[in-house]
């Protein structure tokens, strides 16, 4: 601050004391120089200096310095910070300069054909990956999110805690949870709506065709008979969910016990048009008649629930057997309702209805219906990522591949920077500012990324059908999506900016003097940076390679490992209609027909047994006090069994092995009433010795253990082998009939079987499954992942090698003279190839050392999802490493060889 009440200032006073002692603080001046706009600096600094010297004379050095500092800080204001716009350099869009830059950029692209091609192809592949992943993620995220009520539509999940275990699932058989003996939906739901405020509508839904007992069901109208995959739902279904009803009324579609809603496909199959279907009768499973009350549009792939018809819920409960206990309960909440509050009230109501002595505690939770598809798994009772994991992985991989491509661009651009350095020097001398140069180089990289974008947009259109096959999706061409036209330019800009960042910043920072004098050398920093990028690139590629090998081997292992039974040449068909009552007749006839080797039956398809009894899963139906299965010396042990009732030839038809005792046999009269077999795992868990001969009972049936089966896989390899209990019952109305065809006579066998079934069971169409194909279907998601990782790994390696090719070309070009001289001095072609490729080989080896542990960690985590898995043995890593090294070496060596065979006379003369 300047002192008040003082003398008239003496501007031209005595000469200032010497500068060294009486100068303002240096750091304050530097600060001022740094922040102050250049066009104001002279005047401001001058004023400050003058004031400083004035204060020195008036009040002494100390105060003058203090004031100076205060003034410098006081000047940090917008007017002093704001830079004046230069009329010459900043605006690249002034047309003449813009044209100039465009010309230079295009000439660069054309002159460096190979490098440009490598860049464009690399970037295009990376971008195509990104676009596909974007479409895939978009599609995944849209699943179940098309409902008009989606903001207030919640699905229930239940968590059962007890016996040290926590199990959660979206499957909520509400009547069982709430201990309602009455299984009708209406009464339970009315009760819930009454006691839990905020619940507007409720719906129950159950698929009719999924395991363990579900299957396609037969419908008949007049002469037409066909099987359809359908479900059951309670009456609010069509008003809660937005499945468009094209004929009939949504509100009354499922209002009474005889109503059915059918899809467009089914309506058109039976009645030609949807309108004609309304009010007509359809016959279900040759047993019940339903009236078509509504026809809805076929559910789109965006719906995780797929159903070709919907039966009234109460009809299911009162007149049919449960196809599964996968029952989904959904609530439509009031706009203003707080889902957590509703959850709390629901649980309070649940507690009031449940048995306080029960060792298990059941709690309910709400999750937005649109989330259940992606967040499909549970961790400690809370919905967890599930499918979301794959979305994250693939997004990550797409970004990786794009980065690999961008690194190519950076590397090639910096490597070539020597050539462009002269241009930069001249431009700077002529007056180009650093900012203009940065803009220019970014402009060039964006131009290249634009070319790449055009290529990738075309590629995408061409590859979309194959992509759909690869992922099993139905993605249509995105050209009509408005957001696609935002994503495309955004992708182009991002790619251009990432790819151009290093060259733009590096090249523009070069000093014109050293460039033009020719003393510019790559700093070790730049070389390290380039090597680092190559390492990074190859690490990513090697990780992808290792992942591919692991996933492929695991999938291969799963599909070809010995399951303990022989599933080749076995087909099975659903027991329905007359097939049960006429089973013996069918078996007798079939065995005499050509192509059929064996016939037997089982209550469950042996490759995917879903039902577990006595398991601690919270379902009152399956753990009624652990008493469904009893045995000699059971005590307090609790064992979850997979039960099956089979025919006498079950062991032979599947080629199972008996390790103790004997198999079922018609020779023993008691076998159909008294015999049980268990597997080795059951023996272990039951904790008994010498099981053969001990008594055992399943439900009301009591008998003795006659033999022990060698463990075989009754479900997918994700699950460990469970205890198994098998008895002979050749009269159950459900299950499957298995037929072993004679090897190589599949066609004859199927033809015989079809004619036989048509004769015995005319009201049902002949539908069968091959057991090995059905088994493979259990691993559909693994197969999709195998295909996708294969593609990605190939792309990653391809792009990395492209980059390496570019770098190798560049190095060879740089060292033309050196190579010539070496050859003159007697080096062989081999020596030179070795010389050029060694450096890169070292980089690949380093990348491998980085990649192997990372990949090992992640693949180990992935493998944990399987109860039976391959070992992460050294050869997997070795193969990946060798592949990467071999490919990289091949690329470099080819290039090195080309430059090594050049006649030295030529290369040396060119200088």
């Amino acid at each position: 601050m300047i002192a008040r009440n003082r003398q008239q200032p003496v501007v031209n006073g005595p000469a200032a004391p010497s500068r060294t002692t009486l100068s303002p603080p240096g750091w304050a001046t530097r600060l001022l120089r740094w922040y102050c706009a250049p066009h104001l600096l002279e005047e401001v600094q001058g004023d400050l200096q003058e004031e400083f010297e004035f204060q020195v004379r008036l009040a002494g050095v100390a105060k003058a310095r203090r004031d100076y500092i205060r003034n410098v800080i006081g000047f940090i204001k917008p007017f002093a910070l704001k830079r004046k716009k230069s009329p010459y350099t900043t605006n690249i869009f002034r047309m003449n300069m813009f044209n100039h830059y465009a010309t230079v950029a295009i000439r660069q692209v054309i002159r460096q054909k190979t490098f440009s091609a490598i860049n464009v192809i690399g970037l295009a592949l990376g971008m195509t990956c990104c676009l596909f992943i974007y479409l895939w993620v978009r599609d995944e995220k849209s699943v179940d999110n098309f409902h008009a009520n989606k903001k207030n539509l919640y699905i229930l999940y239940q968590t059962v805690a007890g016996n040290g275990q926590v199990n959660s699932s979206y499957s909520t058989p509400f009547n069982m949870i709430f201990n309602f003996s009455d299984q009708k939906a209406t009464s339970t739901f009315e009760e819930i709506k009454r006691v839990v405020p905020g619940v507007l509508q409720t719906s129950a839904y159950m698929t009719g065709y999924e395991l363990p007992w579900g299957h396609p069901e037969t419908f008949q109208v007049g002469e037409k008979v066909q099987k359809f995959n359908g479900s059951r739902a309670s009456s609010d279904f069509f008003t809660m969910f937005s499945y468009p009803v094209i004929a009939g009324d949504a509100a009354t579609a499922l209002h009474d016990i005889s109503s059915i809603a059918i899809s467009r496909t089914m309506a058109e199959f039976f009645f030609r048009t949807p309108q004609e279907a309304i009010g007509k009768n359809v016959r279900f499973e040759n047993r019940l008649d339903f009236v078509v009350n509504a026809v809805y549009e076929n559910p789109t792939p965006q719906s995780s629930w797929q159903f070709e018809f919907l039966l009234n819920w109460d009809a299911q409960i009162t007149q049919m057997n449960l196809p599964s206990h996968l029952i989904f309960t959904t609530f439509l909440l009031d706009e203003s309702a707080d889902p957590r509050q509703v959850e709390e009230n629901l649980n309070r109501y649940l507690t009031s209805r449940s048995d306080p002595k029960s060792p298990e505690k059941v709690t309910l939770g709400l999750r937005l219906f649109g989330d259940q598809y992606l967040y499909s798994s549970f961790v400690y009772g809370k919905p967890a990522a599930g499918r979301m994991v794959y979305i994250r992985i693939f997004t990550g991989v797409a970004v990786f591949i794009l980065i690999i491509a961008c690194i190519n661009f950076m590397n090639l651009a910096t490597a070539r920077s020597m050539k462009r350095a002269k241009e930069v020097g001249v431009r700077k001398v002529v007056g180009s500012s650093r900012r203009t140069l940065i803009t220019q180089f970014f402009g060039e990289s964006i131009l290249l990324s634009f070319l790449a974008l055009v290529v990738s947009a075309i590629l995408m259109q061409l590859l979309l059908p194959s992509f759909n096959i690869l992922t099993g999706k139905h993605i249509t061409s995105p050209l009509t999506l408005p957001e696609y036209w935002i994503v495309l330019p955004a992708l182009m800009l991002i790619t251009g900016l990432i790819a151009g960042s290093y060259p733009a910043l590096y090249l523009s920072s070069l000093k014109p003097v050293s460039i033009l004098k020719g003393t510019l050398r790559f700093t070790s920093g730049a070389t390290w940076f380039r090597k680092g990028l190559v390492c990074f690139q190859f690490s990513l590629s090697i990780i992808l390679l290792i992942a591919t090998i692991v996933i492929f081997s695991q999938t291969h292992f799963v599909r070809h490992t010995s399951l303990g039974y022989d599933r080749d040449d076995v087909i099975y068909l659903q027991i329905e209609g007359e097939l049960n009552t006429k089973y013996s007749y069918l078996k007798e006839r079939a065995l005499k027909m050509p192509g059929i080797a064996m016939v037997d039956r089982s209550t469950e398809a042996p490759h995917a047994m879903g039902f577990v009894v006595d398991e601690k899963d919270g379902f009152s139906e399956t753990n009624t006090g652990d008493d469904a299965i009893q045995w000699e010396g059971k005590g307090n042990t609790s064992v979850g069994f997979k039960p099956a009732s089979v025919g006498f030839d079950f062991i032979d038809i599947l080629k199972l092995k008996v390790v103790e005792g004997r198999g079922f046999s018609r020779a023993f009269a008691t076998d159909s009433a008294d015999a049980f077999m268990i597997n080795e795992e059951a023996v272990r868990q039951m904790g008994i010795k010498d099981p053969v001969g001990k008594w055992i009972s399943a439900w009301q049936k009591k008998g003795h253990i006659i033999g022990v089966l060698k463990d075989y896989h009754v479900s997918s390899l994700r699950e460990p082998i469970k205890p198994l209990i098998v008895d002979v019952k050749e009269y159950e109305y459900f299950g499957v009939i298995m037929v072993r065809l004679e090897p190589g006579k599949t066609t004859e066998g199927l033809a015989s079987l079809e004619s036989l079934c048509r004769e015995i069971n005319p009201n049902y169409p002949f539908v069968f499954q091959f057991m090995d194909q059905e088994y493979d279907k259990l691993y559909r998601s693994e197969q999709v992942i195998t295909r996708i990782t294969n593609t990605f790994a190939a792309l990653g390696i391809l792009i990395s090698c492209l980059g390496l090719l570019g770098l190798a070309m560049f190095t060879a070009e740089q060292r033309t003279r050196e190579i010539g001289i070496r050859k003159v001095l007697g080096a062989t072609v081999g020596n030179i190839v070795n010389l050029l490729s060694k450096e890169f080989a070292v980089l690949v080896v380093i990348s491998f050392l980085i990649a192997a542990p990372v990949a090992g960690y992640f693949m180990n985590r992935w493998l944990q999802g399987f109860a039976y898995r391959i070992d992460l043995s050294w050869w997997i890593f070795a193969t990946a490493g060798m592949m990467a090294l071999a490919l990289a070496w091949l690329v470099i060596a080819t290039q090195a060889f080309q430059s090594a065979v050049v006649n030295p006379a030529k290369s040396l003369r060119s200088e």
């Binding site: 601050m1 300047i2 008040r4 009440n5 008239q8 200032p9 501007v11 031209n12 200032a16 002279e42 005047e43 401001v44 600094q45 001058g46 004023d47 400050l48 200096q49 003058e50 004031e51 010297e53 004035f54 205060r70 003034n71 006081g74 000047f75 204001k77 007017f79 002093a80």
Partner: protein
Amino acid sequence: MKRVYLGEFEEIVLLLVAMLGEESYGVKITHEIITQTNREVRLNQVHSSLHRLEEKGMITSRMGDPTAERGGRRKRIFTITAYGRATLEEMKALRIHLWNLLPPTLNIAGV
């Protein structure tokens, strides 16, 4: 009536620019304000005020000659424009007009 807003401090700075003629630059104006008005002001306040006045078109500036006590740096000399002068006169006229409207004896509240 269209009118550019001129703050009280800006008015003083503008008057001083008009008054100081060839000597009107940052330090000089600051010192003059301090001596004439007994106010505490700092250089940066004067500078930003000058900057605003220049943006409003009431003063123009040019770089003067380098002087030794400024370490050989040039001063920026400010001159009032016709528009600036007109604004000042307009303000003065308005004040006089308002003063003339006052009754001869001022009724001071509370007295």
